[in-house]
């Protein structure tokens, strides 16, 4: 049983079942490529999973309540464009610009998430469709606002934070890790988190227990939108551009990380630690398969196969650990 209440260390280990598959992957790549465990490559992997991880943390909330958010990639692009416009405003000091951009990106993402949440919760509509609508709206808006032009030339201090290292670890990855920790705490130690799980499990029972289900659902989507905003800032800092066509298909990667991590698409079961491992699986796979020199097409096929094998492995581990 993938318990919803990940309290003890043991239950974290259990939740994080996909860890075995990750371990095997890492083991394999370490043997297959001399570069895989080099400090440089580890830095690469950490940097590369950062954005997906940030998006996946927000996505975990939405999937836990039984929803889905297809718009995160587009919303990220929209938030990036807005933040990009803000950071290239003339006549302001660097610090102000950076703060303004961060705020603008965050608020833009948050508002998109809020809209997703309010519409799907108020009318009890399938979030798949509502966020598919938002996917189109946010992408169109990003293109419209930017005139389809890539925004560039950001203050140096801002770009620097994208490549800053702390104890040999990319700062942006630590940021993502902090988000994971916060999400874990919120989901497992607070009333709010408890009710997020409960709603995903049995919404009617929560409603009859007198809790404002509507607001919890809205909150989950808003959190997801806000993480898309944060991802946008990280994206900008890392690549020094704000592109209106960034993030196409990112939603699938984020959802995949969450589900590979053992969270149920039906809601109510899963953990953000699993999401962290899921994001690692995807990132390690993408990196390792290039290192061992597979051709592009083989790489794509093998990625598919490994993802499937990973969840099959997890199935057996879960079975073993439950008996």
């Amino acid at each position: 049983m993938k318990g919803s209440s990940a309290f003890s260390v043991k239950s974290i280990v259990n939740n994080a079942g996909i860890g075995l598959a990750l371990l095997l992957l890492i083991l394999f790549f370490s043997v297959a490529s001399e570069f895989f465990l080099s400090p440089n490559n580890i830095t690469n992997i950490l940097t590369q999973i950062t954005i997906n991880l940030i998006l996946a943390v927000g996505m975990t909330f939405v999937i836990l309540i039984g929803g889905i958010d297809l718009s995160v990639g587009s919303v990220m692009a929209f938030a990036a464009v807005i933040a990009g416009k803000a950071i290239t405003l003339p006549g302001l000091g660097t610090t102000e610009l950076i703060l303004l951009a961060i705020l603008a990106g965050l608020v833009a993402g948050l508002i998109c998430g809020l809209v997703n949440g309010v519409i799907s919760a108020y009318w009890a509509l399938p979030s798949f469709i509502i966020t598919l609508g938002m996917l189109n709206i946010a992408r169109g808006a990003a293109l419209q606002v930017s005139g389809a032009q890539t925004i560039y030339s950001f203050p140096f201090a801002f770009e620097e934070f994208g490549s800053k290292m702390v104890f040999g670890i990319p700062f942006v990855f630590l940021l993502a890790l902090a988000l994971v920790a916060i999400a874990w705490f919120v989901l497992n130690r607070t009333v709010f988190g408890r009710l997020i799980y409960a709603i995903g499990n049995n919404e009617e029972a929560v409603r009859l227990a007198g809790h404002p289900v509507f607001w919890y659902k809205v909150a989950a989507f808003t959190i997801c939108g806000a993480t898309a905003g944060i991802a946008a800032i990280v994206y900008m800092a890392r690549l020094s551009i704000a592109s209106p066509i960034a993030g196409i298909g990112f939603e699938l990667n984020a959802i995949a990380a969450v589900i590979i991590g053992g969270t149920s698409l039906a809601g109510g079961r899963g953990s953000v630690i699993g999401t962290l491992l899921g994001a690692f699986i995807i990132g390690v796979l993408a990196n390792g398969l290039i290192l061992i020199g597979l051709s592009d097409f083989m790489r794509q096929m093998i990625t598919g196969v490994v993802i499937i094998i990973a969840v099959i492995l997890d199935h057996y581990r879960a079975k073993l650990s439950s008996s």
Partner: protein
Amino acid sequence: MAQAVQASPTDDILLDVTDLRKSFGGVHALSGVSFSLKAGEVHALVGENGAGKSTLIKVLTGVHHYDAGTISLGGAAFEPSDPHFAKAAGIQVVHQEFNLLTDLSVAENISIEAFPRARFGLLDRTEMKRRARTALDAIGLNDVDVDTPVSRLGIAHRQLIEIARALQTESRILILDEPTATLTERETSRLFDIVAGIKAKGVTVVFVSHHLDEVFAICDRVTIFRNGQTIATENIADTSPEGVVRHMVGRTLSEQTKELNDAICDSIVLSVEGLQTAASPHPQGVSFDLRQGEILGIAGLVGAGRTEVLRAIFGADPIQSGQISRNGNRISISNPRDAIAAGIGFVTEDRKDEGLILDMDIAANTSLVSIKDVSVKGLLNFAKERLMAIQGGARLKLKYGKASDPASSLSGGNQQKVVLAKWLASHPEILLLDEPTRGVDVGAKAEIYAILKDLAAQGMSMIVVSSELPELITLTDRLLVMSEHKVQGSLMPEDYQQEAILKLAYGQSETPEGQNQ
């Protein structure tokens, strides 16, 4: 109640179970169960909540695999590997928890096991509906349309549909796990007639119930469970209800007595006037008052509209018209949140869909309503929560492993106790209870009655909807009888007689309309 069925079983052993064991993780659900079924008998399984009755049934029907022991059917070894296997061997079952397809029609649900096929795998819908109609009529559900989706039906109707479905297929052994827990007398006696009928055809019936009067009415033999073991199998003719209870709990229970509640104050805590919901056809609606410390019962037949009234008061369903007043002040309740804020609690009839969060642990379920009491500034205090669960569990004699086990691992009756514990933990001033002891064993039931009466004595008011007249008779201080979505009459304890209540329930007015208060 149906008359006792003439005993006519043979002495051939049809099914023999010896020393059966089954555990879930650390929980030993079955630790040495032996019993045998004689061909053609009606055999009762009784025991406290969590004693292992349903687990045995699930093993026999291929839902769970057993750990050790032997089963033989008709003399040959029998190892049911999946539900299909057991069905093919002629074992039909109505499980304790529902297994209905709520979005499908009644007819489809009844035929699900063996859809009538025309050529080329086509569904013969005319035949399917005809069979469903026949099955429903046989069980007395004349008023239910076979095209209705099950999601529109109340819980008792659902139970009857499960039974109708099991009766669809010819079987050697029919197992009924607490079929009567949600039924009123009318349906129960109809069920007993059916059981008598199939018994006459040579079918062996296994019957689980917490109502010993039912067991003594229709069964030939009874096997008593305690803590995962079979304690004894006795001929009904050779034993008595007291004897069975002694085996069950290991002691004698004191007789339930009806004491008049003298704590009822005159102050009216809840007043309902002209309450109308989407389903109620009567423009005058439902009206009544509830006084402080009073336990008001609502009796009626299945589908009389009792659940509807409670749901409307609690804000679970929208009110069409009518007024609700608390302590004399009109209040508006548009959702459960408002109701809880007004000090009202609601134990729902359907624990699986509305009451419990099955995947979450017992402690989390217990604290769901009063989560503020176990948290500080939004942070959960797990120790406090566990304590709440343990105290609530102890009070209701909950049988469980750890407070951190998921609610789904509990036996049916114990799940019901968790729902009760959840609402008791929220200390409401008014508690609405819909079938509060559904599936709860005799001993625990007595405890629950005592607790409820005690709470009433301390000033809590309650409305109890129940399909068990004895429950209403022991528990309530006043009884409304509903029929066809309106209050047909009101009775005081001195007038509590089965006959009078049933008369009203069938819609024969005793008190003139408008004097229901």
